[in-house]
Amino acid sequence: MAEKILHAIYDDDDKLLAAVKKIKEAKIDIEEVYTPFPVHGLDKVLGLKETRLAITAFIYGCIGFSFAIWMMNHIMILDWPQNIGGKPSFSFIENMPSFVPIMFELTVFFAAHLMVITFYLRSKLWPFKEAENPIPNTTDDKFLIEIKFDGSEKEIKKLIKETDVLEIKLHLNKKNDND
């Protein structure tokens, strides 16, 4: 387990991007980057995989669509068919045009809500969750690169000093047991 944590703080998104590129080129692992807003291209430079949330939304939408069909077929055709204004009630396909609006609404309902819930769970966001950004300014105007490592900090520090860094902070990793 890494015993030291280095925080490199930047005050500009372009400086951060350049620094991340440089650190990556030197084959040093970046543990995490905290930014106040989405920095475009950062995920590519960091080599993050593309998120699959859009795919989950599609699957959830399909579930919502199927649920709507099942529900309305069960209620209007199977359980209690009624003659309402002469509309055909004994065959799903003939009654289907009236069901289209709710099929659509439930598709959107399922896709949107379940995707957002998935996002909250995957990114660990919920009420009473403690924030984990190391310095509070990273939600304002500072950008922070976190590097965990063992041994001497000399080389890493030297490399980071070559970038346009504002401040470097070194910590001992106290959370070793938990990691």
């Binding site: 905290y34 475009h40 209007m76 609006p101 919920w126 009420p127 950004n133 509070p136 990273t138």
Partner: protein, 462 residues
């Protein structure tokens, strides 16, 4: 700087030479500062109206719907007029945050948060009317398809009123999560600045522990995009379904195929007018003139002008089709609208919705703050009249001349309507003091492309 290039023809969207930190400070000011006298005055008026409305609601529910001015011929009047009016107003919020996101319109970023807040608050007002009109609002859950203890009694999925239940509740809940997800980074910014322990606690709670990791941002952007993609057809479907409440009936004046697009255009029209009304005041009160610039006002005026023309086109199409159909009941319904006893409502609607936005063709007028404000109020009034005209004039002279009658609202009709206006402003005023009213994280992403200081720097250095 090269990667932040934007065509020089584009005017700056953030003025005043702001840095990232300035953006945070400016937006957090309203939250950290104290409310001024005007805020308290307006809030008190809104609160009194709201309480008055609650009184009228209690009276209506305890006495019965007979407290309203409805009669056997005009069975729907102010309640549904107000319902459609409020739902329509809500549409601009989603349009700004979702449709303009898909079109990559950067100017949306200064106004989307407040527009979405407006959406949520106005859909709440809208939802009140059908629930009160049920007479026994504690049975409102009967509109849901839940197995119950009264036998196999289900809701009727053939009814557009039930489609409304699904459409409005999906719309309200999806708008809410869309809004809240966008709020997380901004709440986090306030949380990390907060000095007072109580404030820190509240904003920690509502920011869901947002930390701004690279992966979180990647997911955040994807979720925003997909939600925008879902919300766009959703918002169009909602007002389409609201128009089905009328269009699927066989009442002359309601039974028209043009209703869905016509209602959607009208909704966008009235919603933008309400955004304009709210933001012109808010930019002044909260000192946000550098973020909600004259250019934003101008662009919104252009949307108002275009949707006003679409609505005008729909009015004329309706008249033409009524004549062209050869159906005398249809022809009479429209003739009666324009020249019958409710001519004043029809021509108020025409003046406010079709003629007044035409002033926006003049650049001087659409960049004038006072003029924009006046027109936005006029449009809001006009769109209320539109719904009144559609609903009441189509009903009051039906197939049977012996039941022809007029509608006049009672003090309770008026009181409940004023009450919802009060409730809306109570919510909006509280929001403007406690929420980040501009999506600051998003504004920071466009600062280098669209901030005036960066633009000048680029012009100088190339």
């Amino acid at each position: 700087m090269a990667s932040h290039y934007e065509a020089p023809i584009r005017k700056p969207l953030v003025t005043g030479g702001k840095s990232y930190h300035d953006v945070s400070v400016d937006i957090v000011n309203a939250v950290e500062g104290k409310a001024n006298k005007q805020w308290w005055i307006v809030f008190s008026i809104a609160l009194i109206m709201f309480l008055w409305g609650i009184g009228c609601i209690i009276y209506t529910i305890s006495t019965g719907i007979g407290a309203w001015g409805l009669n056997k011929t005009v069975g729907w009047a102010w309640d549904i007029t107000n319902f459609v009016w409020w739902v329509g107003i809500g549409h601009a919020g989603t349009l700004i945050s979702a449709v303009l996101l898909l079109f990559r319109q950067k100017w949306r970023m200064a106004i989307n948060r407040s527009a979405e807040a407006m959406t949520i608050f106005s859909v709440i007002q809208a939802g009140l009317f059908p629930i009160i009109h049920m007479g026994r609002p504690w049975l409102a859950f009967w509109t849901l398809p839940i197995p119950n203890a009264y036998g196999s009694l289900w809701v009727n999925f053939n009814s557009p009123l039930l489609w409304d239940v699904f459409a409005i509740s999906t719309y309200l809940s999806v708008s809410l999560v869309f809004w809240w997800t966008g709020l997380l980074p901004d709440f986090a910014m306030i949380r990390d600045r907060a000095v007072k322990p109580f404030q820190k606690k509240i904003y920690s709670l509502v920011s869901f522990g947002w930390s701004g990791r690279a992966k979180d941002w990647q997911r955040f952007e994807e979720v925003s995009l997909v939600l925008a993609g879902l919300a766009t057809p959703l918002v169009l479907s909602v007002h389409t379904i609201v128009s089905f409440d009328f269009a699927t009936s066989v009442i002359p004046g309601w039974h028209t195929t043009i209703f869905p697009p016509y209602f959607v255009a009208g909704a966008i029209f009235s919603g933008f007018a309400m955004v304009q009304t709210l933001l012109i005041v808010m930019r002044k009160v909260s000192n946000l003139e550098n973020y909600i610039t004259i250019q934003h006002i101008e662009l919104m005026n252009i949307v108002i002008m275009i949707t006003g023309c679409i609505v005008g086109c729909a009015y004329i199409t309706e008249l033409f089709i009524a004549w062209y159909s050869g159906v005398e009941y249809e022809q009479y319904a429209f003739l009666n609208r324009a020249t019958g006893p409710y001519w004043w409502a029809y021509w108020s609607m025409m003046t406010c919705n079709v003629f007044s936005p035409q002033f926006m063709w003049v650049k001087k007028l659409r960049t004038s703050i006072v003029f924009s404000f006046v027109i936005s109020i006029v449009v809001n009034i006009g769109m209320w009249f539109e719904r009144f005209v559609i609903i009441v004039t189509s009903l009051h002279r039906d197939y049977l001349p012996s039941s022809w009658t007029m509608f006049s609202p009672t003090v309770f009709d008026i009181g409940i309507f004023l009450g919802t206006i009060g409730f809306f402003f109570v919510l909006f005023l509280l929001y403007s003091r406690t929420f980040p009213v501009i999506a600051q994280a998003e504004v920071k992403t466009i600062l280098k492309t669209s901030g005036d200081n960066y633009k000048k720097m680029r012009d100088k250095n190339g």
